[in-house]
């Protein structure tokens, strides 16, 4: 058993390295800016969903308010950059740090709540954040912040001519989120989280400090999501509260993980690889009419996938593997 586990982990790491290498070569073949754009978004959502999965998948604390951390990442970076001239690289880390601290501060009262009460509390807190930013004059209120163009440079993490640097950063972020998950999965934290998810009382009685392990998951998850938010802000060069803190982001972070397989290592990547291109393509090919057909198609697919594969797309792979094992 132990040997199998170790072998599986090694295999996961090798697969990830191969996939990352292949993805890194993709821009050699894909010259179309529109497709590159989709690739960047796909990688970004894979990273976000992977981070969301740490708290909601592994630790079982379903959050539908992660847009708050995404927005905090974006706003911290851009406020520091436009008001104080702090480079986005530092802003990004600051945003991540602030998001992690806020996540722990909120976790203190939130983690006492269970089930629906917890989920609604996460939605509500993100909504409060959204309303506050919409009314915060200094931060641009509802109009948001336009990031001034200072020419392409890695130093300022700003590129107007090409999308490639964004692509590589998104890829790196995705790899980072995956690697953190991979590493945590086999750490004592990973085992704690799964115990907390399955049966908090039993975990507590066996000496897992349930509260602290939830806090740890929240902090890591929020930190990574905020980095994603900072990236998104630089990528768009414009942010406003609705476009970085809206409820749809909370859902878009959760969806890939749920469709791919919640609480699994590969679920978020798989889910994002299918969901995000599908979203973008339906939007641009049949959404142009403004008549809602894209919504109908998109919504129907979500209903069908979640009904047909409650354990996510990953379950397709593990099912065939299980068959192989019994043979």
């Amino acid at each position: 058993m132990d040997k199998n586990f170790a072998a599986r982990r090694r295999r996961d790491l090798i697969i990830a390295a191969v996939l990352a290498a292949l993805a890194a070569l993709a821009p050699l073949f894909v010259k179309n800016v529109y497709i590159q754009n989709i690739l960047v978004l796909t990688l970004m959502y894979a990273a976000l969903s992977q981070s969301w999965n740490i708290l909601s998948g592994y630790c079982g604390q379903i959050s539908l308010g992660h847009a708050l951390y995404f927005g905090i990442g974006a706003y911290t970076t851009e406020l520091l950059f436009t008001k104080f001239g702090v480079l986005p690289w530092f802003g990004m880390l600051a945003g991540g740090g602030i998001a992690a601290v806020i996540a722990m501060g909120l976790g203190y009262p939130f983690f006492r709540l269970r089930g629906h009460y917890f989920v609604i509390a996460t939605i509500v807190i993100a909504e409060i954040g959204l309303l506050l930013f919409q009314n915060w004059e200094w931060a641009g209120a509802a109009l948001g912040i336009t990031i001034p163009v200072r020419g392409d440079s890695w130093l300022k993490f700003q590129f107007m001519r090409s999308k490639l640097p964004y692509f590589y950063f998104a890829l790196a972020l995705c790899c980072l989120a995956w690697f953190v998950t991979w590493w945590l999965e086999d750490s004592k934290w990973g085992f704690w989280w799964r115990a907390v998810k399955d049966n908090p009382e039993a975990a507590e009685s066996l000496g897992v400090v349930v509260f602290n392990s939830k806090m740890g998951a929240a902090a890591v998850s929020a930190f990574l999501v905020a980095i994603g938010g900072a990236f998104y802000a630089q990528f768009l060069a414009y942010i406003d509260p609705e476009s970085v803190m809206g409820f749809q982001f909370s859902l878009l972070m959760a969806l890939p993980a749920v469709l791919g397989g919640i609480g699994t290592l590969w679920g978020p990547v798989l889910g994002a690889a299918i969901l995000i291109p599908m979203t973008e393509l339906t939007r641009s090919y049949i959404g142009g009419s403004g008549r809602g057909v894209d919504l109908i198609v998109y919504g129907t697919l979500i209903v069908l996938i979640s009904l047909a594969l409650p354990q996510g797309l990953v379950s397709l792979f593990s099912r065939s593997k299980a068959k192989g094992a019994t043979r």
């Binding site: 539908l64 006492r112 609604i120 057909v293 109908i296 209903v303």
Partner: protein, 277 residues
């Protein structure tokens, strides 16, 4: 206004609170009820007040069909049942919004003249707009009806028993799907009633449901899951808090007060005010 929130929330209290099924399409149920009432007015000149029972009946069928066609299967999921429910009903909400855009166009519509629109009554020197007043009365009646229904009839007991233990219920000969389909129908009919009344004084557009759905969730959770009276009390509190916040903060921040009160309440009472679950 609080009683109106209560009226929207009462249907959700039944589906979400009593049957413990997450319905993210509740706002969209409200939206199509408002459209139904609008079209009955536009084509047949039936006043929303008269068409309200019609709309409620149609919504009853709609709710039961949604349960039988979709939700039934979502509840069957062995793993991640909660997430499956969230995302199937969320997908349904998106489809409904898309369909509304396709067939009804994204334009804002309103019912220009109705028996109630724009009139006010004066009670002891306080002027109250008539539609809201009727809404409040309907809301009280709906709550009283539902309360009676859940606590005094066989069906109400069957509903609670089914949530508690579907297996045992099947043993005594109650068909779980029939009970829940009826519950979903009833929940949808109640939100249909809310939609018919709100159509008189709110703009009707495909995304209208989204703005009320979150408040309806907060209302139900504030009152506590599993309690009809809780949802009623939650509605009144939400309405009062909104009115008070609107006096103290700019109008764009009026919902902040509601959300803050929700957080405060659940921090002190993690199961809501009157919750039993």
């Amino acid at each position: 206004m609080g009683l109106l929130y209560g009226l929207i929330a009462v249907g959700l209290a039944l589906i979400f609170g009593l049957m413990d099924v997450t319905n993210f399409a509740h706002g969209e149920f409200l939206m199509i009820a408002m459209y139904a009432s609008f079209f009955l007015f536009a084509f047949f000149a039936i006043d929303p007040l008269l068409s309200a029972p019609l709309v409620a009946a149609a919504m009853f069928v709609f709710g039961a069909v949604v349960y039988l066609l979709i939700v039934r299967f979502a509840m069957r999921a062995k793993a991640n049942a909660g997430m499956v429910q969230i995302f199937t009903t969320f997908g349904l909400a998106i489809v409904m919004r898309g369909l509304a855009q396709l067939f009804f166009t994204p334009d804002y519509r309103s019912i220009p003249q109705s028996w109630l629109g724009g009139k006010t009554v004066s009670i002891a020197g306080i002027f109250l707009p008539e539609p809201q007043l009727v809404g409040a009365l309907v809301s009280i009646a709906a709550f009283a009806g539902l309360y009676f229904f859940i606590h005094r009839t066989d069906f109400g007991r069957a509903l609670e028993a089914t949530r508690e233990d579907p297996g045992a219920v099947a043993l005594v000969g109650i068909d779980k799907n029939r009970v829940f389909a009826f519950g979903w129908g009833l929940g949808a009919a109640l939100v249909g009633l809310a939609g018919a009344i709100m159509a008189v004084f709110f703009y009707i557009y495909p995304d209208v449901g989204a703005s009320f759905a979150l408040i309806a969730y907060v209302t139900v959770a504030l009152g506590g899951f599993g309690s009809v009276f809780g949802a009623f009390a939650g509605g009144i509190i939400v309405g009062l808090v909104e009115a008070v916040t609107a006096l103290m903060l700019p109008p764009s921040l009026k919902s902040v007060g509601i959300y803050a009160v929700y957080l405060l309440v659940v921090f002190i009472r993690p199961r809501g005010l009157f919750g039993s679950m």
